[in-house]
Symmetry: D2
Protein backbone atom coordinates (compact mmCIF):
# COMPACT_ATOMS: atom_id res chain seq x y z
CA UNK A 1 0.00 0.00 0.00
CA UNK A 2 0.95 3.61 -0.57
CA UNK A 3 0.96 5.83 2.53
CA UNK A 4 1.60 9.53 2.97
CA UNK A 5 2.25 10.81 6.45
CA UNK A 6 3.27 14.01 8.20
CA UNK A 7 4.10 14.64 11.84
CA UNK A 8 3.76 18.02 13.56
CA UNK A 9 5.05 18.78 17.07
CA UNK A 10 3.12 21.39 19.07
CA UNK A 11 4.61 23.60 21.70
CA UNK A 12 8.13 23.72 20.28
CA UNK A 13 7.97 26.80 18.05
CA UNK A 14 6.87 27.57 14.51
CA UNK A 15 9.85 25.88 12.84
CA UNK A 16 9.56 22.13 12.86
CA UNK A 17 12.37 21.24 10.47
CA UNK A 18 14.54 19.66 13.18
CA UNK A 19 11.86 17.03 13.91
CA UNK A 20 11.14 16.56 10.21
CA UNK A 21 14.83 15.96 9.47
CA UNK A 22 14.94 13.30 12.17
CA UNK A 23 11.84 11.66 10.64
CA UNK A 24 13.43 11.56 7.17
CA UNK A 25 16.56 10.02 8.63
CA UNK A 26 14.47 7.23 10.19
CA UNK A 27 12.50 6.69 6.96
CA UNK A 28 15.69 6.55 4.94
CA UNK A 29 17.22 3.96 7.26
CA UNK A 30 14.10 1.78 7.06
CA UNK A 31 14.93 0.67 3.55
CA UNK A 32 11.32 1.15 2.38
CA UNK A 33 10.81 3.01 -0.92
CA UNK A 34 9.90 6.63 -0.14
CA UNK A 35 9.55 10.09 -1.63
CA UNK A 36 9.49 13.31 0.39
CA UNK A 37 7.41 16.28 -0.83
CA UNK A 38 6.85 19.74 0.72
CA UNK A 39 3.80 18.50 2.67
CA UNK A 40 4.78 15.00 3.78
CA UNK A 41 6.52 11.75 2.96
CA UNK A 42 5.09 8.92 0.86
CA UNK A 43 6.23 5.35 1.62
CA UNK A 44 5.24 2.06 0.05
CA UNK A 45 4.98 -1.28 1.85
CA UNK A 46 2.73 -3.63 3.81
CA UNK A 47 0.60 -2.51 6.77
CA UNK A 48 2.95 -3.86 9.46
CA UNK A 49 6.18 -2.40 8.12
CA UNK A 50 4.71 0.99 7.20
CA UNK A 51 2.84 1.44 10.48
CA UNK A 52 5.87 0.35 12.54
CA UNK A 53 7.91 2.98 10.69
CA UNK A 54 5.35 5.76 11.25
CA UNK A 55 5.08 4.82 14.91
CA UNK A 56 8.86 5.02 15.29
CA UNK A 57 8.85 8.49 13.69
CA UNK A 58 5.87 9.63 15.78
CA UNK A 59 7.58 8.53 19.01
CA UNK A 60 10.83 10.20 18.02
CA UNK A 61 9.03 13.53 17.53
CA UNK A 62 7.19 13.00 20.83
CA UNK A 63 10.56 12.92 22.63
CA UNK A 64 10.95 16.62 21.81
CA UNK A 65 7.36 17.83 22.18
CA UNK A 66 4.52 17.45 24.65
CA UNK A 67 1.91 17.07 21.90
CA UNK A 68 2.20 15.62 18.41
CA UNK A 69 -0.27 15.63 15.50
CA UNK A 70 0.24 12.89 12.91
CA UNK A 71 -1.74 12.55 9.67
CA UNK A 72 -1.75 9.34 7.66
CA UNK A 73 -3.39 8.76 4.25
CA UNK A 74 -3.48 5.20 2.93
CA UNK A 75 -4.21 4.18 -0.68
CA UNK A 76 -4.44 0.39 -0.69
CA UNK A 77 -4.93 -1.40 -4.00
CA UNK A 78 -3.79 -4.99 -3.55
CA UNK A 79 -2.04 -6.59 -6.52
CA UNK A 80 -0.67 -3.31 -7.89
CA UNK A 81 3.06 -3.15 -7.06
CA UNK A 82 5.45 -0.20 -7.39
CA UNK A 83 2.76 2.44 -7.26
CA UNK A 84 5.13 4.97 -5.71
CA UNK A 85 6.45 5.61 -9.21
CA UNK A 86 3.63 4.02 -11.23
CA UNK A 87 0.79 6.36 -10.20
CA UNK A 88 2.44 9.51 -11.52
CA UNK A 89 3.72 7.67 -14.61
CA UNK A 90 0.19 6.59 -15.51
CA UNK A 91 -0.92 10.24 -15.35
CA UNK A 92 2.01 11.26 -17.55
CA UNK A 93 1.10 8.54 -20.04
CA UNK A 94 -2.46 9.87 -20.22
CA UNK A 95 -1.26 13.44 -20.68
CA UNK A 96 1.43 12.43 -23.16
CA UNK A 97 4.15 14.38 -21.39
CA UNK A 98 6.14 14.74 -18.18
CA UNK A 99 4.64 16.69 -15.27
CA UNK A 100 6.36 18.64 -12.50
CA UNK A 101 7.15 16.49 -9.49
CA UNK B 1 -4.25 9.30 22.04
CA UNK B 2 -7.23 10.64 20.13
CA UNK B 3 -7.61 9.33 16.58
CA UNK B 4 -10.13 10.16 13.87
CA UNK B 5 -10.36 7.84 10.89
CA UNK B 6 -12.47 7.32 7.80
CA UNK B 7 -12.42 4.53 5.25
CA UNK B 8 -13.63 4.89 1.66
CA UNK B 9 -14.01 1.96 -0.78
CA UNK B 10 -13.46 2.73 -4.47
CA UNK B 11 -15.12 0.89 -7.30
CA UNK B 12 -18.27 -0.07 -5.43
CA UNK B 13 -20.58 2.84 -6.23
CA UNK B 14 -21.23 6.27 -4.80
CA UNK B 15 -23.01 5.05 -1.67
CA UNK B 16 -20.61 3.67 0.88
CA UNK B 17 -22.93 3.36 3.88
CA UNK B 18 -22.85 -0.45 3.87
CA UNK B 19 -19.09 -0.47 4.47
CA UNK B 20 -19.34 2.36 6.99
CA UNK B 21 -22.03 0.51 8.96
CA UNK B 22 -19.76 -2.54 9.14
CA UNK B 23 -16.92 -0.34 10.38
CA UNK B 24 -19.07 1.17 13.14
CA UNK B 25 -20.14 -2.31 14.20
CA UNK B 26 -16.48 -3.33 14.56
CA UNK B 27 -15.62 -0.14 16.45
CA UNK B 28 -18.55 -0.61 18.79
CA UNK B 29 -17.54 -4.20 19.55
CA UNK B 30 -13.95 -3.12 20.31
CA UNK B 31 -14.97 -1.57 23.61
CA UNK B 32 -12.83 1.53 22.98
CA UNK B 33 -14.48 4.91 23.66
CA UNK B 34 -15.67 6.35 20.33
CA UNK B 35 -17.83 9.04 18.74
CA UNK B 36 -19.07 8.95 15.15
CA UNK B 37 -19.57 12.21 13.24
CA UNK B 38 -20.70 12.84 9.64
CA UNK B 39 -17.09 12.73 8.35
CA UNK B 40 -15.49 9.96 10.39
CA UNK B 41 -15.16 8.22 13.71
CA UNK B 42 -13.03 9.37 16.66
CA UNK B 43 -11.61 6.73 19.02
CA UNK B 44 -9.40 7.07 22.08
CA UNK B 45 -6.75 4.59 23.17
CA UNK B 46 -3.11 3.56 22.92
CA UNK B 47 -1.27 3.16 19.60
CA UNK B 48 -1.49 -0.64 19.51
CA UNK B 49 -5.19 -0.99 20.28
CA UNK B 50 -6.30 1.91 18.05
CA UNK B 51 -4.19 0.85 15.07
CA UNK B 52 -5.25 -2.79 15.39
CA UNK B 53 -8.87 -1.61 15.33
CA UNK B 54 -8.38 0.61 12.27
CA UNK B 55 -6.56 -2.20 10.48
CA UNK B 56 -9.45 -4.58 11.19
CA UNK B 57 -11.92 -2.04 9.78
CA UNK B 58 -9.70 -1.32 6.75
CA UNK B 59 -9.43 -5.02 5.94
CA UNK B 60 -13.17 -5.54 6.35
CA UNK B 61 -13.88 -2.80 3.79
CA UNK B 62 -11.19 -4.27 1.51
CA UNK B 63 -13.20 -7.52 1.37
CA UNK B 64 -15.88 -5.67 -0.61
CA UNK B 65 -13.73 -3.36 -2.73
CA UNK B 66 -10.62 -3.61 -4.88
CA UNK B 67 -9.23 -0.31 -3.59
CA UNK B 68 -9.62 1.39 -0.24
CA UNK B 69 -8.59 4.88 0.92
CA UNK B 70 -8.15 5.30 4.67
CA UNK B 71 -7.39 8.59 6.43
CA UNK B 72 -6.10 8.71 9.98
CA UNK B 73 -5.50 11.82 12.14
CA UNK B 74 -3.76 11.38 15.46
CA UNK B 75 -3.66 13.92 18.30
CA UNK B 76 -1.29 12.53 20.92
CA UNK B 77 -0.84 14.42 24.17
CA UNK B 78 0.53 11.98 26.75
CA UNK B 79 -0.75 12.39 30.29
CA UNK B 80 -4.10 13.91 29.28
CA UNK B 81 -6.79 11.25 29.72
CA UNK B 82 -10.41 11.28 28.54
CA UNK B 83 -9.85 13.83 25.80
CA UNK B 84 -12.69 12.37 23.71
CA UNK B 85 -15.08 14.34 25.90
CA UNK B 86 -12.61 16.77 27.50
CA UNK B 87 -11.50 18.63 24.36
CA UNK B 88 -14.97 19.88 23.47
CA UNK B 89 -15.78 20.58 27.13
CA UNK B 90 -12.72 22.81 27.45
CA UNK B 91 -13.96 24.83 24.44
CA UNK B 92 -17.42 25.10 26.01
CA UNK B 93 -15.88 26.28 29.27
CA UNK B 94 -13.98 29.00 27.40
CA UNK B 95 -17.10 30.08 25.52
CA UNK B 96 -19.29 29.87 28.61
CA UNK B 97 -21.99 27.83 26.88
CA UNK B 98 -22.76 24.55 25.13
CA UNK B 99 -21.90 24.17 21.46
CA UNK B 100 -23.54 22.01 18.80
CA UNK B 101 -22.02 18.55 18.57
CA UNK C 1 -21.58 19.93 0.52
CA UNK C 2 -20.34 18.57 3.83
CA UNK C 3 -16.97 19.92 5.01
CA UNK C 4 -14.87 19.08 8.05
CA UNK C 5 -12.06 21.43 8.96
CA UNK C 6 -9.51 21.94 11.71
CA UNK C 7 -7.05 24.78 12.24
CA UNK C 8 -3.81 24.45 14.20
CA UNK C 9 -1.56 27.39 15.15
CA UNK C 10 2.17 26.68 15.43
CA UNK C 11 4.55 28.52 17.69
CA UNK C 12 2.03 29.42 20.36
CA UNK C 13 2.33 26.50 22.76
CA UNK C 14 0.84 23.04 23.03
CA UNK C 15 -2.62 24.19 24.10
CA UNK C 16 -4.61 25.56 21.20
CA UNK C 17 -8.03 25.81 22.81
CA UNK C 18 -8.07 29.62 22.79
CA UNK C 19 -7.84 29.69 18.97
CA UNK C 20 -10.31 26.82 18.65
CA UNK C 21 -12.85 28.63 20.84
CA UNK C 22 -12.57 31.69 18.63
CA UNK C 23 -13.11 29.51 15.55
CA UNK C 24 -16.27 27.95 17.03
CA UNK C 25 -17.60 31.41 17.87
CA UNK C 26 -17.15 32.48 14.23
CA UNK C 27 -18.76 29.27 12.93
CA UNK C 28 -21.68 29.68 15.28
CA UNK C 29 -22.26 33.27 14.17
CA UNK C 30 -22.19 32.23 10.48
CA UNK C 31 -25.62 30.65 10.73
CA UNK C 32 -24.48 27.56 8.77
CA UNK C 33 -25.44 24.16 10.20
CA UNK C 34 -22.45 22.73 12.07
CA UNK C 35 -21.35 20.05 14.50
CA UNK C 36 -18.11 20.16 16.50
CA UNK C 37 -16.32 16.91 17.38
CA UNK C 38 -13.04 16.30 19.26
CA UNK C 39 -11.00 16.47 16.03
CA UNK C 40 -12.67 19.25 14.05
CA UNK C 41 -15.87 20.95 13.01
CA UNK C 42 -18.25 19.80 10.28
CA UNK C 43 -20.28 22.43 8.40
CA UNK C 44 -22.77 22.08 5.57
CA UNK C 45 -23.30 24.59 2.76
CA UNK C 46 -22.26 25.67 -0.73
CA UNK C 47 -18.62 26.14 -1.78
CA UNK C 48 -18.63 29.94 -1.49
CA UNK C 49 -20.19 30.23 1.94
CA UNK C 50 -18.24 27.35 3.48
CA UNK C 51 -14.89 28.46 2.09
CA UNK C 52 -15.48 32.08 3.10
CA UNK C 53 -16.19 30.85 6.62
CA UNK C 54 -13.08 28.68 6.80
CA UNK C 55 -10.97 31.53 5.46
CA UNK C 56 -12.33 33.85 8.13
CA UNK C 57 -11.45 31.29 10.83
CA UNK C 58 -8.00 30.64 9.32
CA UNK C 59 -7.21 34.36 9.27
CA UNK C 60 -8.44 34.80 12.83
CA UNK C 61 -6.05 32.10 14.06
CA UNK C 62 -3.25 33.63 11.97
CA UNK C 63 -3.61 36.85 13.99
CA UNK C 64 -2.26 35.00 17.02
CA UNK C 65 0.32 32.74 15.37
CA UNK C 66 3.10 33.05 12.82
CA UNK C 67 2.21 29.77 11.14
CA UNK C 68 -1.13 28.02 10.76
CA UNK C 69 -1.97 24.54 9.47
CA UNK C 70 -5.53 24.07 8.19
CA UNK C 71 -7.03 20.77 7.04
CA UNK C 72 -10.23 20.63 4.99
CA UNK C 73 -12.13 17.49 3.91
CA UNK C 74 -15.01 17.94 1.47
CA UNK C 75 -17.72 15.36 0.72
CA UNK C 76 -19.77 16.76 -2.15
CA UNK C 77 -22.83 14.84 -3.33
CA UNK C 78 -25.09 17.27 -5.18
CA UNK C 79 -28.81 16.79 -4.72
CA UNK C 80 -28.53 15.25 -1.25
CA UNK C 81 -29.57 17.87 1.32
CA UNK C 82 -29.23 17.79 5.10
CA UNK C 83 -26.41 15.28 5.12
CA UNK C 84 -25.01 16.71 8.37
CA UNK C 85 -27.65 14.70 10.19
CA UNK C 86 -28.62 12.29 7.39
CA UNK C 87 -25.29 10.47 6.99
CA UNK C 88 -25.17 9.19 10.55
CA UNK C 89 -28.92 8.44 10.53
CA UNK C 90 -28.52 6.24 7.45
CA UNK C 91 -25.83 4.24 9.29
CA UNK C 92 -28.11 3.90 12.32
CA UNK C 93 -30.93 2.69 10.09
CA UNK C 94 -28.65 0.03 8.61
CA UNK C 95 -27.49 -1.08 12.06
CA UNK C 96 -30.99 -0.94 13.53
CA UNK C 97 -29.93 1.10 16.56
CA UNK C 98 -28.45 4.38 17.73
CA UNK C 99 -24.67 4.82 17.69
CA UNK C 100 -22.45 6.99 19.91
CA UNK C 101 -21.98 10.48 18.52
CA UNK D 1 0.74 29.56 1.34
CA UNK D 2 1.57 25.95 0.51
CA UNK D 3 -1.43 23.72 -0.21
CA UNK D 4 -1.66 20.01 -0.98
CA UNK D 5 -4.90 18.69 -2.40
CA UNK D 6 -6.33 15.48 -3.80
CA UNK D 7 -9.70 14.82 -5.44
CA UNK D 8 -11.40 11.42 -5.52
CA UNK D 9 -14.53 10.65 -7.55
CA UNK D 10 -16.88 8.00 -6.13
CA UNK D 11 -19.09 5.78 -8.22
CA UNK D 12 -16.92 5.72 -11.31
CA UNK D 13 -14.75 2.66 -10.70
CA UNK D 14 -11.52 1.93 -8.86
CA UNK D 15 -9.27 3.66 -11.37
CA UNK D 16 -9.39 7.41 -11.06
CA UNK D 17 -6.44 8.37 -13.27
CA UNK D 18 -8.64 9.94 -15.96
CA UNK D 19 -9.98 12.52 -13.48
CA UNK D 20 -6.54 13.03 -11.96
CA UNK D 21 -5.00 13.68 -15.40
CA UNK D 22 -7.65 16.32 -16.05
CA UNK D 23 -6.87 17.93 -12.68
CA UNK D 24 -3.13 18.08 -13.46
CA UNK D 25 -3.89 19.66 -16.83
CA UNK D 26 -5.91 22.41 -15.10
CA UNK D 27 -3.20 22.95 -12.45
CA UNK D 28 -0.51 23.15 -15.12
CA UNK D 29 -2.50 25.74 -17.09
CA UNK D 30 -3.02 27.87 -13.98
CA UNK D 31 0.58 29.04 -14.01
CA UNK D 32 0.93 28.52 -10.24
CA UNK D 33 4.07 26.70 -9.03
CA UNK D 34 3.16 23.06 -8.35
CA UNK D 35 4.59 19.61 -7.71
CA UNK D 36 2.64 16.37 -8.14
CA UNK D 37 3.41 13.39 -5.88
CA UNK D 38 1.83 9.91 -5.70
CA UNK D 39 -0.77 11.07 -3.16
CA UNK D 40 -1.69 14.57 -4.32
CA UNK D 41 -0.55 17.84 -5.79
CA UNK D 42 1.14 20.69 -3.90
CA UNK D 43 0.61 24.26 -5.14
CA UNK D 44 1.87 27.56 -3.79
CA UNK D 45 0.01 30.87 -3.91
CA UNK D 46 -2.43 33.16 -2.12
CA UNK D 47 -5.78 31.99 -0.71
CA UNK D 48 -7.89 33.33 -3.56
CA UNK D 49 -5.86 31.93 -6.45
CA UNK D 50 -5.23 28.54 -4.84
CA UNK D 51 -8.84 28.03 -3.75
CA UNK D 52 -10.19 29.13 -7.13
CA UNK D 53 -7.91 26.56 -8.75
CA UNK D 54 -8.96 23.74 -6.42
CA UNK D 55 -12.62 24.63 -6.95
CA UNK D 56 -12.15 24.46 -10.73
CA UNK D 57 -10.55 21.02 -10.41
CA UNK D 58 -13.23 19.81 -7.97
CA UNK D 59 -16.01 20.90 -10.32
CA UNK D 60 -14.30 19.28 -13.30
CA UNK D 61 -14.18 15.93 -11.48
CA UNK D 62 -17.80 16.42 -10.40
CA UNK D 63 -18.82 16.51 -14.07
CA UNK D 64 -17.89 12.83 -14.33
CA UNK D 65 -19.02 11.57 -10.91
CA UNK D 66 -22.06 11.90 -8.67
CA UNK D 67 -19.96 12.26 -5.54
CA UNK D 68 -16.52 13.75 -5.04
CA UNK D 69 -14.21 13.74 -1.99
CA UNK D 70 -11.62 16.51 -1.88
CA UNK D 71 -8.90 16.85 0.76
CA UNK D 72 -6.99 20.10 1.26
CA UNK D 73 -4.03 20.70 3.62
CA UNK D 74 -2.81 24.26 4.04
CA UNK D 75 0.52 25.32 5.55
CA UNK D 76 0.45 29.11 5.83
CA UNK D 77 3.53 30.93 7.04
CA UNK D 78 3.29 34.53 5.88
CA UNK D 79 6.52 36.17 4.83
CA UNK D 80 8.24 32.95 3.77
CA UNK D 81 8.28 32.81 -0.04
CA UNK D 82 9.14 29.88 -2.33
CA UNK D 83 8.46 27.23 0.26
CA UNK D 84 7.51 24.70 -2.45
CA UNK D 85 11.23 24.13 -2.98
CA UNK D 86 12.55 25.69 0.23
CA UNK D 87 10.96 23.31 2.76
CA UNK D 88 12.65 20.20 1.38
CA UNK D 89 15.93 22.10 0.86
CA UNK D 90 16.00 23.14 4.50
CA UNK D 91 15.66 19.47 5.50
CA UNK D 92 18.47 18.52 3.12
CA UNK D 93 20.65 21.24 4.58
CA UNK D 94 20.06 19.87 8.08
CA UNK D 95 20.82 16.32 6.98
CA UNK D 96 23.82 17.39 4.92
CA UNK D 97 22.72 15.45 1.83
CA UNK D 98 20.03 15.09 -0.81
CA UNK D 99 16.89 13.10 0.01
CA UNK D 100 14.59 11.14 -2.30
CA UNK D 101 11.79 13.24 -3.72
Amino acid sequence: MLVQFSIVPLGSGESISEGVAEVIRIVDESGLPYKTNPMGTVVEGGWDEVMALIRKCHEEVLRGASRVLTSISIDDRPGKPDRITGKVQSIEKRLGREIRK
